[in-house]
Symmetry: none
Amino acid sequence: MKVHALGSWEQVPSSPSTSSSLSSSSANDPKRLRPLAPRLTSAAVSTAVATEISAPPKLRKSFSSPMTAKCASIDLDVSLIQMQSGGTRWNPTPEQIKLLEALYQGGMRTPNPVQIERITMELGKYGRIEGKNVFYWFQNHKARERQKQKRSELLALAASAAPLPHPKKEEIKEFHGGSCKRKCRSWGSLELAVEEEGPGDRTLELFPLHPERKQM
Amino acid sequence: MKVHALGSWEQVPSSPSTSSSLSSSSANDPKRLRPLAPRLTSAAVSTAVATEISAPPKLRKSFSSPMTAKCASIDLDVSLIQMQSGGTRWNPTPEQIKLLEALYQGGMRTPNPVQIERITMELGKYGRIEGKNVFYWFQNHKARERQKQKRSELLALAASAAPLPHPKKEEIKEFHGGSCKRKCRSWGSLELAVEEEGPGDRTLELFPLHPERKQM
DNA sequence: GCAAATTAATGATTTATTCAAG
DNA sequence: CTTGAATAAATCATTAATTTGC
């Protein structure tokens, strides 16, 4: 059961007519109505885009790119896995954390694919886990250790510099303090187009994907 | 039950980046024409992971070496394709760029997995390309367009600052209208096939984030 | 004219920030 | 409040342009 349900990733439900077109991912821009105009051979490009890309996806395995679109999820297991974890974010078990910290402590910072795969495999013994979790864990851990250190250094320096400690944990918001200018074209539920994968895998299956469930 | 036929990732014996001191953007160092450099695969590291989880070396930089995309069994004339794209990093053809720019111009900024897949498929007609190339292209293009604009704005501001002091804020254009909710993108299944490291000389590569699949 | 040497672009990674689930 | 997840900014590294000496 691949999810493979394509065709509904237009992020703005308010413009239904723009659906099948892949040429406008963020059509929510009011001032942007024309696909293209400048650039040389715009007509050709336009046509190509419209006809080719937006064309119904046929076999996704017909050699498009050297190796993209592989498959890596065990469709059948998906339900099982999800069932046992609720399909939410990864919640490391103590054992997993222990191992990860041991690796980090040992010097590992950004494991490569093979390492990720192995680690994932090993940690999988203690609970559900995916390669991306491992990847993210290292990224976050590294970043946060750094933050911690930076902060303590800063504090130490401040303490030694100013006899008047002003314990203000206030984070320096930098210029980003503006309003939330995050881009948010919440595209509806994103579906994956994952294929299946065999059990005897050696291929790591990692890759982002994640339906944006922004429903509040 | 699907075996990806990830076959051969050929590493062109070009010039790997074995040595890399940090902070060396400007190359004023005549170290071109590297004869050949071995790989510094992490067989040992991997092993360590699998066995004694705690002894990865200190390699400071991730060692992702340039690799060539492996070709599916369906790959026809690799040589021809390779001719156009070389064995290292993706080098977009004019047609590909045209299409990408058209899409960008059409408003696309961060294509989701399905879109990436389609685009990749389409662009694949003009030369070798992988999903990650598409993803990266959009990321880079977006970032660089932003830089460009910011720079010009800054210049304009500086120019207009003299005649008329205008406490203007830096907050400006963001071509995306919309609410402020974070959007979650994801990748579909791209994936990397890690080759066996038996020969000991396979530099595999994986690229950054690769969450798996996540259904909700 | 041509390559080596530089420089400009830009593909690919890593790091810093931010968001939000639990 | 902690931290998994995700994106944007910064950085690195390689390729194409371009310049330069012969």
